[in-house]
Amino acid sequence: MPHPRIRPLASLALAAAALLGGAPLAAAEHPIVIVIHGGAGVIERSHMTAEREAAYRAGLGAALDAGYAVLEGGGVALDAVAAAVRTLEDDPHFNAGRGAVLNHDGICELDAAIMDGSGPRAGAVAGVHHVKNPIDLARLVMDKSPHVLLAGQGAEEFALAQGVVLVPESYFITPERLRELEQEKRGAAERTPTAPLPLRPSPPKGMGTVGAVALDRAGHLAAATSTGGLTNKLYGRIGDTPIIGAGTYANESCAVSGTGQGEFFMRQVVAYDVCAMMQYQHLSLAKAVDTMIHDKLKRTGGEGGVIALDRDGNFAMDFNSAGMHRGVRDSRGRREIAMYRDAN
């Protein structure tokens, strides 16, 4: 039985909030939450040195705190996810921005998307080679162009027109990614390069993609994702990251960012489908994510994970790969960073 006095008090508060424009009550009602990922894949303790693990954890922590600081300062979810993803793009340990994996030609080809759940509005870029922070360019596409997705040179023309300073391809390349490409090419030589589907792409080694979802004080949701894609990918290949609905999606009730074998995420329109299952099948966020990752995606052989957040601040970080770099921080005092299956 609910306490009989709650109802009149609540309606008084609502009336007061209406008079004040709703902001004070909204501030009190909505938890602020940010969830990030730094890619899913073969992340096992046996493959990790203490130094590397510490570097990943530090990078995830910095991104989490950068995004959270925006929310704590009263900023919007959209700015928070952009700040978190920008931090991960600048960190060479993650497959986005600097330190992104290299394509077949030995260069970085970067994709990113951002979506504002209120609107909804979205911006994305694909196949850019010279943009230091692709997430910022995706944001400019959303804010300053009538388009949603710009690809390749056209995207870089737009960047220049917006005053974005381009950087040389060498900015993104790290020795570690060069080694990975060599290894991958040696391995690929033993496989048929164009075998027909269903061919599973080689297991994700690049631990690809970074992303963030956030809920702000006003109750708005946003999602952002950025990636270098697959090591040794074909020139021109675009994965799920910049595809609204596949790797990135946000509306008024749900925000999702994905990481994993992009082709599978695209075919199943993963990020939007999580939201659709929630809204139309009335599943909880956790159940919708569980169904997607461990049933729908797994059934087709797709590997990866998602982070997701609903308007009440419920979140999910789930994956069917060995591990996923991830973290969450909220106004209820939670701050967690994990990499492996066992919540550590």
Partner: protein, 303 residues
Amino acid sequence: MYAIAIHGGAGAVPRATLSPEREQRYRAGLEAALEGGYAVLERGGSSLDAVTAAVRVLEDDPSFNAGRGAALTRDGAAELDAAVMDGRQQRAGAVASVRHVKNPVELARRVMEKSRHVLLVGGGAEEFALEEGFGLVPNLYFRTPERLSQLEHEQRGERVSDLVPPAHGTVGAVACDRDGNLAAATSTGGMTNKRPGRVGDSPIIGAGTYAKNGVCAVSATGHGEYFIRAVAAHHVCAAVEYRGLSLELAMRELLHDILGGLGGDGGLIGVDRDGRIVMDFSTEGMYRGARDSSGRSEISIYR
């Protein structure tokens, strides 16, 4: 029951501005595409082959905004997008921003069947085309005097750059074959005077193109940015699958409530698991056609 539906774009098609000769040309083009696709189904071919065949015919017809006769970008080039999806295993292939591939829908199909990827873009997509033995054509192949004058029109400022959708863009097809397999395909030149690199909804799986056996297959046309934000084609399938809506209601909700609410317009064609065809649009008209094994056969432009 087997069935196929096609569209040749939606937009403002005021009867007064469409001369009888042009209307006749459009109708003949739609008819040829519809028959091309239907013939595949009739002889027991797959829905995937049927939608590919129908879209190829429309790509080759200079009256429609896809393949030859596609709308031109700001720099006067044709830049083409296409996608195909097989409802059987939800396999999909797409290409974006290609400038030298005569039939983008065939390259999209090749991406689905011969690469481990779903979407290839620009120069990379054309590299793949060459590896697969496609003969490339010069960009001039696609350019028609009509599209050139349309571009000049826009560039003289008679319209606000790329904020306005083209009068009628995009072609597409959906089909259900004898085995109940569903497929969808879409191909386009995008918006007249578009910024090079702009990718619309056509090659985006879930936005302009989607197919899932047992649910429905959908191809969209209209102001692409809105269709991307609304994840239009997948939204329709999700409404059918999760809420039990009829395809008709799902499409109406998407076009008139959701897209209408966002300020976007366009059209959709779809076929459900039983081979029932639905064609709906929120614009003045949509070039469209439908034919099925129960005797339905129609070509229409206006409401």
